[in-house]
């Protein structure tokens, strides 16, 4: 009632005027269009090179198709974001993030700068270039409705504690992908560490103001669900806003032999070779 009293919508013309009067407002979480208008453009990035600028709501999701070579940076301004992330080859989405290969091939379970995010097809979808958080996770995936119902008493998608998987399923659907296309994911900004007996020690966040920056090694569909990590021990559904910026310049290229990271290990070198081979053959 109180809300309706603020609006005059008894005719089409009034309704139109009322709707149009709402434009131009700002929210704490919203996309910024054009991206160059982002109020949070990173200092080291030229605003006119931005192709994606958004603050993702706590409990929200976003998704974007990114050109090969795009840099994208995720920032956690409050220390409470948790960016559950899935990547797909935008040209052939059956090629997608493979968490097992992402941990196994580099012989390293914990994500950090230099870590390749691998597909199941022996290629690098994206490389983590920089990381000031160091608290990420590739073991626990995201939350399900069953988990959130247990933890928070509710997991309704329209409610206060939506589950990461449910958000991923919706984001995937908007690219023509179904539930079978949602594999295990990784999360940035909230981590666990594995103790000697295999139990997870909660590592949590490293605080406000950290960021990870990645480069798209292939054309990517990026899905992000910003929801609490499933092992977050707090009884409340706590998650903060997530900043996303992506940009392209003549200098933002996919990894090539000219980059030091190309030869960081024999495994990653062959992964980059496979990726370049695919891109060459497809004429990318």
């Amino acid at each position: 009632m109180a809300l309706a009293a603020d609006h005059s919508t008894d005719t089409v013309l009034n309704a139109r005027a009322d709707a149009r009067a709402q434009g131009g407002q700002v929210s704490d979480w919203m996309p910024y269009l054009p991206a160059s208008s982002s109020p949070f453009c990173p200092e080291d990035v030229a605003a006119d090179s931005l192709t994606w600028a958004e603050t993702v709501a706590p409990g929200g999701y976003t998704h974007k198709v990114l050109a090969r070579g795009t840099r994208f940076r995720l920032e956690d301004p409050t220390g409470e974001a948790c960016a559950h992330t899935l990547l797909y080859n935008a040209l052939e989405p059956t090629e997608r993030l493979n968490v097992a290969d992402t941990q196994k091939i580099p012989w390293q379970a914990y994500l950090g700068a230099g870590h390749p995010l691998l597909s199941g097809d022996g290629r690098v979808l994206a490389t983590i270039l920089t990381d000031t958080s160091g608290r990420h996770d590739a073991f626990c995936g995201t939350s399900t409705a069953a988990w959130n119902a247990l933890r928070y008493g509710t997991a309704l998608p329209e409610g206060p504690a939506p589950a990461g998987r449910d958000l991923f399923v919706k984001a995937a659907a908007k690219h023509g992908l179904g539930p079978a296309d949602v594999p295990p994911s990784v999360s940035f900004f909230q981590g666990v560490r594995v103790a000697g007996d295999g139990s997870f020690d909660w590592f949590g966040s490293s605080g406000a103001g950290t960021a990870v920056e990645l480069v798209a090694e292939l054309p990517l569909i990026v899905l992000i669900a910003n929801v609490p990590h499933p092992r977050d021990p707090r009884p409340e559904y706590v998650v903060g806003p997530l900043r996303v910026h992506a940009w392209r310049t003549p200098e933002t290229n996919p990894t090539t032999p000219a980059d030091e990271r190309f030869d960081a290990s024999p495994e990653v070198r062959r992964a980059y070779l496979n990726t370049l081979d695919y891109a060459e053959a497809r004429g990318l």
Partner: protein, 266 residues
């Protein structure tokens, strides 16, 4: 049998196993590099075929040849015993709700719910919806792996080099076996590796190392709902997930006589 490949792009490769296909030798003979029959060294490999881990009527009892794939539906309440016949033979495994295969095994959900990175007795093998598919009701090795994933032609090129591209792999087996059930690339997710050893060290280093299993060691899984089980009897020839000696697995499904101790919590 080995051959030498001069690889100008990568580090030099000396000796590698030949591709697993029929080929013509320089002297005109048509030979197969696929070993005839079992590919394990059957003259000196000790095999223990084992028995079901739980008492009850056996409703299915099948052998999985080395390097081969297998699938079967385990009905709710039935128990699947997997026998590591030759010891340290990785049985790569995926699980699906038999009625609705979009619901399938989820390694992260299994691990997050139990707050531990290893599978042991009592572990509930959960789906991508968080539901119990199967419960580990008995297990004869310290810990089972679900971190290491499956080998594939493609990932083998990363680990070992492009000379292994034509080696057989578990993802090939999953695709072969899954196709019998209408499953494809989209349906392959992070899997379980029965009898494979993947320790995670303090600094996050992890890898497939020498196994802790032995001939005749077993694991028993009770189905909580009707579950389609896919198995790849790992054909990997480049790491210790099968002692470099692929051996058979035995799959036994029984109707247990008694209620088992471990109850799923969902």
């Amino acid at each position: 049998m080995t051959t030498t490949i001069d690889n100008p792009v990568m580090r030099p490769v000396t000796t590698v196993p030949v591709p697993t296909a029929t080929y013509l030798t320089p002297d005109g003979q048509l030979v197969s590099s696929v070993p005839v029959g079992a590919s394990y060294a059957d003259d000196h490999t000790h095999l223990e075929w084992g028995d079901p881990l739980v008492p009850g009527a056996v409703v299915l009892d099948e052998q999985v040849a080395p390097r081969a794939s297998w699938s079967g539906v385990v009905r709710a309440g039935q128990v699947l015993t997997i026998v590591d016949v030759g010891g340290n033979q990785s049985g790569d495994c995926l699980l699906y709700n038999a009625q609705h295969t979009d619901e399938r095994y989820s390694a992260p959900d299994t691990l997050a719910w139990q707050d531990n990175a290893y599978i042991r007795t009592g572990t509930v093998l959960r789906s991508n919806l968080g539901r119990a598919l199967m419960t580990v009701v008995d297990n004869e090795i310290d810990r089972q792996d679900t971190i290491g994933g499956a080998c594939s032609r493609e990932s083998n090129t990363l680990r070992y080099g492009h000379h292994v591209m034509y080696h057989h792999g578990c993802r090939e087996n999953f695709l072969t076996e899954g196709a019998k059930h209408g499953l494809g690339m989209r349906d392959i997710v992070s899997n379980i590796n029965w009898f494979m050893n993947v320790p995670i060290e303090d600094d996050g280093a992890l890898g497939i190392v020498d196994g802790m299993s032995a001939p005749g060691k077993r694991v028993a899984l009770r189905a909580e709902i009707d579950t389609l089980v896919l198995i790849s009897n790992c054909p990997q020839m480049n790491n210790p997930c099968n002692d470099f000696n692929p051996t058979p697995l035995r799959m036994i499904v029984s109707e247990p006589d008694t209620d088992l101790e471990y109850e799923a919590d969902a």
